[in-house]
Symmetry: C2
Subunit: 336 residues, 2 copies
């Protein structure tokens, strides 16, 4: 069974996803079959050798040319576009954050489940070989009991529309903070019992920086420092009672971590013919491999990035936003 | 004018201070003249070649053999012992924290000022050549505007009486957290407008870990992670709009920092004949050099570690303690 991908939008992240996919040598039995974008889909298709082109998402969703859609749209469109593809019997890999808030995410996941279709939030970090290796280290017990996680993520994107405008779903926690939240959740694997946020907003009422403290049972905690104003050192550290591991920059899809004995562990990414928009985007291919695997096993969610995980992330993002006073119009709406 | 030091207590930190002093080649015109301790002062004097020995603090305070006292006692005794020496006309260098709370610190400082005697809290970090070098880097403007400071300090001392017992002035923020607070204040040089603390207590009602967020004007912040349960990576990072500096372990008296261009800057400490109890204690000599300098200039406080700075630290320590629900008996008392 060949898995046929449809790419939705011809933006920066879609470019990186397709580039990562096309340049990866062992991607198994899957192909990129089609692309749909409102503007210039032909250019994108030509650049990436994609045979079928649509200038509307609906046309792609209704076509019989694809099995699974990759949604690279802006945050406010994730819910509607994902639903459109699910309605038309397509599996969905949707960029993070899955939705704008918890109610939307819950509704979308319920819809996919009812349709018995695969749905995954594109938290590509979870499929990083480095992450899988550090999980192994932690499980080996070398660190002792893991008590503390710290993540820093600072990128100077405060003037980028996607980040700064509320109508575009702008928000630091929704754009980059999500990487720090998912890291904490990846390590602690349970819902925190308390969230404390300190941060600041821009003139559009959108959070431009924050520090988030997640408290877990057993006096364990995660401290997440997020900033869209400047570059930080962008590492993550996991501290246990017997040692600690540091994941090097960029922690959100790293090639290097420093083990507790000081050993430098390397997981280099594959080379690509085209340049990327974002750092280490070659790693985007690993989530495609996961989708292929899940679809072949008949799963409707990935065990490594489950629906429950997406719901916990949605809840945490919403809590952080509300603690800072960031509200979207959809926060007042109900979803089926 | 020779500055004659009297050492008060023969404990671990006094040992390190005297060892650092004795083994430093260029300590100028100052000597260690006497020691006072309740138990085994002779052993301490013999080990460190100190000519005069007292078995009571009062006898040392009333003697004419010293000009300045170094107070290495436990936290609850700082106020009384410092006052005893000031009453008897001696200058005082007192271990940090200066006092148990703000009222005590204010009272002690007022007392020293009235007596026109020198008083300094032994925040030895402030005299580190590494700190002075990073201050120069920051002032050069290379980092741009400094917006964020992060410090981690974790040391497995949760079972040590000094830390865990309230009657001994136990508290993580008072024992190791102070190093993180003073670092933030060293960089931002003004009082934070808001303090947010998340942490946990032991069965004696003493804080054993915390994360402290200090918010400064202009959307700047410091995040301080303190833990007495396990070792952390014990670095400090200063992030500006154009770059960042990392101070290596142990950040509280470092020998190395990583400049914003990646250059490794080294400031090695002098070698000592005797071993130390604490890391990099050789650096304790620099505060003695500062005291000598101040006394020769007729100052009653150090410009690098002023009374005002001690009061801000006392206020911050108290705020953190209160946010976590840690109370000392002296918190209910008034001081003259």
């Amino acid at each position: 069974m060949t898995i046929r991908w449809g790419i939705v939008t011809a933006g920066k992240i879609s470019h990186d996803f397709v580039n990562a996919f096309n340049s990866y040598p062992n991607k198994g039995d899957q192909v990129i079959a089609a692309v749909a974008a409102r503007t210039k889909p032909e250019e994108f298709a030509k650049l990436h050798n994609i045979p079928i082109v649509f200038d509307s998402y609906k046309a792609l969703a209704e076509s019989n040319e694809i099995d699974v859609a990759y949604i690279g749209a802006l945050n406010p469109d994730h819910y509607n576009i994902s639903k459109l593809f699910l309605e038309n019997g397509k599996h969905v890999l949707c960029e993070k954050p899955l939705c704008l808030n918890y109610k939307q995410a819950e509704s979308l996941i319920r819809f996919a489940k009812n349709k018995k279709l695969f749905l995954m939030e594109a938290v590509w970090s979870r499929f990083s070989p480095t992450y899988i290796a550090i999980e192994k280290e932690i499980n080996s017990g070398k660190l002792g009991d893991v008590m503390f996680v710290e993540v820093n993520f600072g990128v100077p994107i405060v003037t980028v529309d996607r980040l700064r405008k509320k109508e575009l779903g702008g928000s630091s926690v929704m754009d980059i903070g999500i990487y720090t939240l998912q890291f904490a959740q990846y390590i602690f694997k349970e819902e925190p019992k308390k969230v404390t946020t300190v941060g600041g907003l821009n003139e559009d009422g959108v959070d431009i920086y924050e520090t988030i403290i997640l408290e877990y049972d057993g006096d364990r905690r995660a401290v997440l420092n997020v900033d869209s104003r400047f570059k930080m050192w962008n590492k993550a550290t996991v501290v246990g009672t017997n040692g600690h591991i540091t994941i090097e920059d960029p922690f959100h899809f790293p090639e290097i971590f420093i083990n507790t004995d000081g050993t430098v562990e390397k997981f280099p990414l594959h080379k690509s013919s085209l340049p990327y928009n974002f750092r280490n985007s070659a790693g985007l291919v690993y989530q495609a491999l996961e989708v292929e695997k899940c679809l072949k096993e008949g799963l409707i969610e990935s065990p490594r990035m489950s629906h429950k995980e997406s719901l916990v992330l949605a809840k945490l993002e919403q809590t952080v936003r509300k603690q800072l006073g960031v509200y979207y119009d959809v926060d007042d709406q109900e979803f089926p």
